[in-house]
Amino acid sequence: MRRGFRQSMAWLHTWSGLVTGWVMFCVFVTGTATYYRTDISLWMRPELRAAAVAPGVAAERGAAYLKVHAPKAVSWFVSLPQEDRPLIGVYWLDSFEAPIRQASLDAETGQPTTARATQGGDFLYRFHYELQMMPMLGRWIVGASALVLLVALVSGIVTHRRIFADFFTFRRDRSAQRGWLDAHNVTGVLALPFHLMITYTGIVTLAFTLMPWGIASAYRGDEMRFYVEAGQTPAWRAAAGRPAEALPLAPLVDRARAEVSEPLEMVIVNNPGDAASTVVAVFEEPKGLAHRHPQVAFEAVSGEVVARLGTLKPAAHAFTSFLGLHEAHFAGPALRGLFFLCGLMGSATIATGLVLWSVARAPKPGLAPGFGLRLVRGLNLGTVLGLPIGIAAFFLANRLLPVALEARAAWEGGAFFAAWGLAALVGFARPHGRTWREMGTVAGLLFLSLPLVGALTTDRGLDFVWFDLAMVAIAAGLGSGAWTLSRYEDVRRTRVARTAQTLARA
C-alpha cells in the first residue's frame, strides 16, 4: 500500500469493522446474555421448583421414558436435574444422520413436564452461534464474521499509537465525532484483552467447522477417531445385532460417582437394548479452565468398566482451555459478572464503531445522504436497537402467551423476530436522530415493563428479583444511550469538515 502500514491498517479496521459489525453486535449481545443462560431459563419456566432426586433414580426415569418413546435409537442421552435446571432432559438419535430429538421430563414423576413450553435461555444461546438458521449456515456466517472481527481487532490495535493514553481520553465536548471516537476507544481498549480472548476462543469453538483440514489430512476426515485419540470421548462400540438385557442404570451410575468427585451431569446409553450396549457417565468439569468432562464408560450388560477419561495431553488441554475460557463455566458470581460487563463493553465498542462510521460521513447541511449512508444508518438502528427490542418481546411473549398454546416455544421465537423486524423497518423508514430517541425509549419501556408483567402473571414473589433489577438496568442503559446518540447525530451536522479531518488522522 502506498501510504504506510498504519494508514492501511486504519482503512482495514474501518471497513472490516463495518462489514462484520452488525452480525458481531448480535453475537456479542446474545453471547453476553448467555453468561446467565440458566438464570434466564429458570425465569422463563416459573412453574419449576428445585427438585431433590438422586442422580441414579433420575437416570432410570429418563431411560424408562426413552425405552417407550425411542426404543430403536442408536444413542440415548439423559441430562440429570441440577439446581439451576430442575428437569430431566432426554435426547436421542434415531440414526447418526438424524437430527437430535428431545423432551423435558418432570424430575419427580419422569413424565413430560407441565411447565410452559419454551426454549428458555437456549434460544439466545443457539442464536449466539447459529443465528437460528440452518445450523451449518449459521455457524459459517458467525465463524466468518468472527474471523473478520479478529482482523478488525488486530488492525485496530495497530491503528492506535496512543493505546495507554486512550484509557483516560474522553473528549465529549470537543466534537460529536470526537466523542464517539473516544467512546469507541475507551470501551474497546479498556476490555481489549477480553475482546481478543473472546473472539479467538469463539473461533476455536467452531474450529473444526471452519478449519477441518487437520483432521482431513491426519485422520482422513474421521473426526470421531480424532476425539477418541485425543481422549475426549470413549471409543464407539459397534452394535452386536442381538438383543440383551442391560443391568439397571442406578447401580452403575453410583459406581461411577464413587470414582469421580464432580457432580454427575449426563448419562449416555449407546446402542440401547443391544448385547454390545455401553453406558457412559459424564461428569461436570473439575475446577480449572479446561472444558473437559471426566467420563466412565461401562459395558451395559456385564457392568465392566471399558474406559475412563480424565486428563488430557498438553495441546488437547490447551484446546479445551480455549473452549473453557469462552464459556466461563469456571467463573464464580463475581468473575461471571465481570465477564458480563466485558461482554457489554464489547457490544458497546461495536455499536459505537458502527455509529462512528455513519457520524463521520454525515452529509453537509442541505445535502441528502447517499444510498450507502442511508443503508448503514438503517442497519445500525435496526441492529443496535432492533435486537434489544426483539429480546424484550421474546421475554414478554414468555409471560403473556397462554401456557397451553400449541407450538408455544415457536411463538416465542416468532415474537422475537416479528418485533425485531418491525423495529428494523421503522429504522429504515426514518433513519434519523429522532428515531434513535423514540426507538430507544420504546426499547427501554419494554424492558421496564418486564418486572411488572412478571409480577402480574406469576406467583413467585421475590424469587426473580435479580432478573428484574437487571431488566431495569438494561432499560435505563438503552434509554439514556439512545437519547445521547440522537443528540449527537443532530449536533453533528455543522461540523463536517473538521471531523472528516480527524477521522483521516485517527
Binding site: 500500500m1 474450529a207 471452519l210 482422513r220 495441546a315
Partner: protein
Amino acid sequence: MPDEAALRNPGRGLGWRVRAAVAGRVVLATFGAYGVAALSTAFLSLVLPMVRSEAVATATLLSFAIMVGAVVWVFAARTLARAALGLAVPAALLAGGLWLALALVDTAPPA
C-alpha cells in the same frame, strides 16, 4: 488503496482502477489467506513431532492466527501483485510439503 480524499468521500473520486484493486485485495484476503491457513493446518497436522491428535489440535489452534497474519499482509503490501506473490510462495511451499507428507506419513486407521 484509496487516498485520504476518497476515504472522506466514499463513492466519489474512486476510479475503477482503485475499486478493482480493493476488490482484488478483498478476494485475495478471503480465499488466499484461508488457503494458506488451510494448507498450513493440513501440513502441520502431519509433520509436527507429537502424537497425531496433539498435532491436529496445535495446528488447528495456530491456523486462525496464521490466517489473520495473512490478511494483514494482503492489505499492508504495497501492490496487489506483491500481496499475491507473498501468499503464493508460502502456499506453493506448503502444498509441496503436504504432498510429500501425505505420501510419507502413515494415516491409515489401525487395523
